[in-house]
């Protein structure tokens, strides 16, 4: 580890500890680190978009439009993009609606058909059982569980009839499946948060403490 690497490791360690100090209580170190993260993130995202977005796909082609007149078409998205900025003007903010309408139109047009196909049709197909094709008894049990779970959960969200009798019983079964789903999500969330803690503590122990020790020891 070089001296400069050690310096930045100490900066990272200081910021990590500043953020974790919030666990004790709110304090200026936490506030400083929090604001730094927001500022650096915005600056970083802007810079990346400038160098890897606007420059190669807008400014450079426009600059070369003498040789490739077709590139002048890029003025259209440039104007539409600039209209977005008029949101800050009280007088002309209505002009930004053209861009918003275009983005929404393209977004809906491209997203709705594949969304229906991906999230509804394919998922409905996957919920249907073909007992003959199941490779094992366990796979068959899983397939039946998915079918029963899907139907009972959907019935729980059916509000056009009072949940009584068979409908009520099936809806209660749906609640059980929902609870199992929430439990799985909670378990995974705990795992995710612990993973992040492991990542930071691993950094503090190995990179910061041991790294500094090794640097001093030569």
């Amino acid at each position: 580890m070089t001296g400069m690497e050690l310096f930045w490791t100490w900066v990272a360690a200081f910021l990590t500890l500043s953020i974790y100090s919030f666990l004790y209580k709110d304090n200026p170190f936490y506030k400083f680190a929090e604001h730094l993260v927001v500022g650096v993130s915005v600056g970083y995202i802007f810079t990346i978009n400038w160098h890897q977005g606007l420059h190669p796909y807008l400014f450079n082609p426009l600059a070369a439009s003498w040789e490739h007149p077709y590139n002048l078409l890029r003025v259209i998205p440039l104007i539409l993009g600039l209209l977005f900025l008029l949101r800050i003007s009280r007088k002309y903010n209505w002009l930004s609606r053209f861009t918003i309408a275009l983005v929404m139109g393209i977004g809906c047009g491209t997203a709705i058909p594949p969304t229906i196909e991906t999230r509804i049709i394919q998922q409905t197909k996957a919920s249907m059982i073909n007992i003959i094709d199941q490779p094992s008894l366990w796979a068959g049990f899983c397939a039946v569980t998915i079918l029963v779970g899907t139907i009972s959960t959907l019935i729980y969200f059916f509000f056009s009839k009072e949940h009584k009798g068979i409908l009520g019983g099936t809806a209660r079964l749906g609640i059980v499946f929902l609870m199992v789903g929430f439990g799985a999500s909670f378990g995974y969330t705990v795992m995710a948060r612990i993973s992040l803690l492991i990542g930071r503590l691993n950094f503090l122990i190995n990179d910061w403490v041991i790294g500094t020790w090794n640097f001093i020891a030569g």
Partner: protein, 288 residues
């Protein structure tokens, strides 16, 4: 009874300290607990492993930012190592501006371990491309028109790895690493529209949402959180930071399970001895 009341009134900062100790201790003194490889991880491994050397490339999209690096970077590195070790060409890209540095760092880290492979022929970094779903759609129409140059500014036409890559038909499989619903966009457009095989590596928070796509066959395989990364590291025989972290993960989980059980036991055992108002809201006042 006193102990049970103490549990109910315990300062949450004691829990923080206990969790920190449960994580630090195994990091200092590894227990080497076994890692069992699940079916969902093995499916992605098999999908990549069966590809012949120098065949169609694997497209890797690094769609995450530094906040989820501990979970997602190990799985990105593991999949890249797998591809590099088998000499399967790899194209790395990102749809997130904050993923640009991470994607390049992951690729360059693994590339250093395989000096026999060369940039442009065996692997390429396409950088960040704004547009997200439109980029994913664009790859399906014309890869080189969507990416006229790589992440270093070299024209795509000069990269031999892209010579035969016209669209998704020329991609063996794409693997998306993400902490968001980006993998769903890849499924929607790359898989459903163009028939490209899609695998995913997601944070543990996202994993339960991704299971339905695995069950329906829309995902080839799934790596979920740190455990998914550790399982992949085990399959390729290259233990990394995920494997190191799994001991800490297991011990922390045991601690949390114990705390949940103790909390529930204390709550129900002391119910009769508490005032009705306390029974209704046992966790008020900043206690754990």
């Amino acid at each position: 009874m006193k102990f049970l009341f103490f549990l109910l009134q315990m300062d949450r900062r004691i829990v923080f300290v206990l969790v920190a100790l449960a994580v630090v201790a195994p990091l200092i003194m590894p227990l080497n607990l076994p890692i069992v490889v699940g079916d969902k991880v093995r499916r992605l491994y098999d999908a990549i492993d069966q590809l012949p050397a120098r065949s169609r490339p694997v497209l890797v999209s690094v769609d995450y930012d530094p906040s989820t690096v501990p979970e997602l970077q190990p799985m990105t590195l593991a999949v890249l190592r797998h591809c590099f070790s088998k000499e399967i060409p790899v194209i790395v890209t990102t749809m997130f501006p904050t993923g640009a540095g991470l994607a390049r760092d992951a690729m360059e880290t693994v590339a250093k371990e395989y000096p026999n492979l060369s940039y442009g022929t065996d692997y390429a970094y396409m950088g960040y491309k704004p547009g997200y779903s439109l980029v994913i759609l664009g790859i399906g129409e014309n890869f080189q028109a969507t990416y006229p140059s790589d992440g270093y500014g070299t024209p795509s036409s000069k990269l031999p790895i892209l010579k035969n890559v016209k669209n998704y038909d020329d991609i063996a499989i794409m693997v998306d690493f993400t902490a968001s619903a980006a993998y769903e966009v890849w499924i929607m457009f790359a898989h459903q529209k163009y028939g490209c095989k899609v695998g995913a590596g997601v944070t543990a928070v996202m994993a339960s949402d991704a299971y339905p796509y695995l069950n329906s066959g829309q995902l080839e395989g799934l790596l979920g959180g740190l455990s998914g990364a550790a399982e992949y590291e085990k399959l390729i025989g290259a233990p990394g930071t995920a494997t190191i972290g799994m001991d800490a993960q297991s011990i922390a989980h045991i601690l949390i399970i114990v705390l949940i059980i103790l909390g529930n036991v204390a709550y129900f055992a002391t119910r009769r001895h508490r005032e009705p108002a306390q029974t209704a809201t046992p966790q008020q006042g900043g206690s754990a």
